[in-house]
Symmetry: C2
DNA sequence: CGTCATCTGCGAATGATTCGCAACGTAGCA
DNA sequence: TGCTACGTTGCGAATCATTCGCAGATGACG
């Protein structure tokens, strides 16, 4: 049977094969970027990914990261998510999940996308609206900030 | 009697009253911006709003627009939505409605907030996360765009 | 009508992302 | 294995959106 870590290895080769099939070349910066995305497991900004890649290949330029990120998104390998006002974040397409973003402290809670299923279904059946599975994000207050919010006052 | 246009007028006064209550001043740029947002009816970028305002008060600066947009968002009067990679867009916040925003054609479908209830409840009970009722918005594709999306192709 | 804090206009600063170009490296072929 | 062709890269400048700092203007209130 397949060990868990093998999944990542297979994933890497899978992506490389896809690149190859597209006529794209498998370069060192590209391979390192994909590895970083796989190892990241969550969302990372271009800059964070660049730092990760540069720890193994210092000469890789930020613009190269952006270019590859764009290409990988085009291939459907990764997804771009934009929080608040800062830099965009990226994560593997397979790691699909909903986001609960606290407007107060900024913490992001990752939740299984099944949480959005009922909403998706109703939107579809009742309004013919297909919710974009890549943008399952809601804003609000996390449990900690919610608690301090409840303190009596004013 | 109240004509439809009066609704907007009431809305304007409502917002101005809110500003007043906050200790904020009612200035010309601010009033014009709110009017523009009300008349817009949909999402507009800061730049578009600036153009609108400047058509009536040419000296209003873009940075003033941004500052007021920020303030209005803080007050819950408007919401910021980010499409793809460009500028952020803003629109009036509905009191307690969900929004289904089509990323394709930009149409916004207002839906009863009950649609978000299961999601809200689960987020609360399972993660202690309180979803902000002013940000019940999901992106996706409306029925029309969804249909054209389904057209067969290469 | 005067006082004072809030706002504004303006341009520079910042932060994120994209572009142009010449050098470089990978892939395919003989 | 060596050559050729073309996708890629590194680098810095350019672009785009948004924010900041400041001094003067303006609205709220007595």
């Amino acid at each position: 049977m397949r060990a868990g870590q093998n999944v990542s290895a297979e994933r890497l080769e899978d992506v490389l094969a896809l690149l190859h099939a597209q006529g794209d070349r498998v370069t060192t910066p590209r391979r390192l970027l994909i590895e970083s995305l796989i190892e990241a497991g969550g969302h990372r900004t271009a800059e964070e990914l660049a730092a990760e890649v540069q720890s193994r290949a210092p000469d890789v330029h930020l613009s190269t990261i952006y270019r590859n990120l764009e290409e990988l998104e085009r291939l459907g390998v990764i997804e771009q998510v934009r929080f608040g006002g800062g830099a965009a974040t990226y994560h593997l397409a397979a790691a699909r999940h909903g986001h609960l973003v606290c407007s107060e402290c900024g913490v992001t809670i990752e939740v299984p996308d099944e949480l959005f299923r009922p909403l998706e279904r109703t939107a579809k059946t009742r309004y013919g609206f297909t919710i974009d599975p890549h943008h399952l994000a809601m804003r609000g207050r996390c449990v900690a900030c919610s608690a301090s919010e409840h303190s009596p006052g004013g």
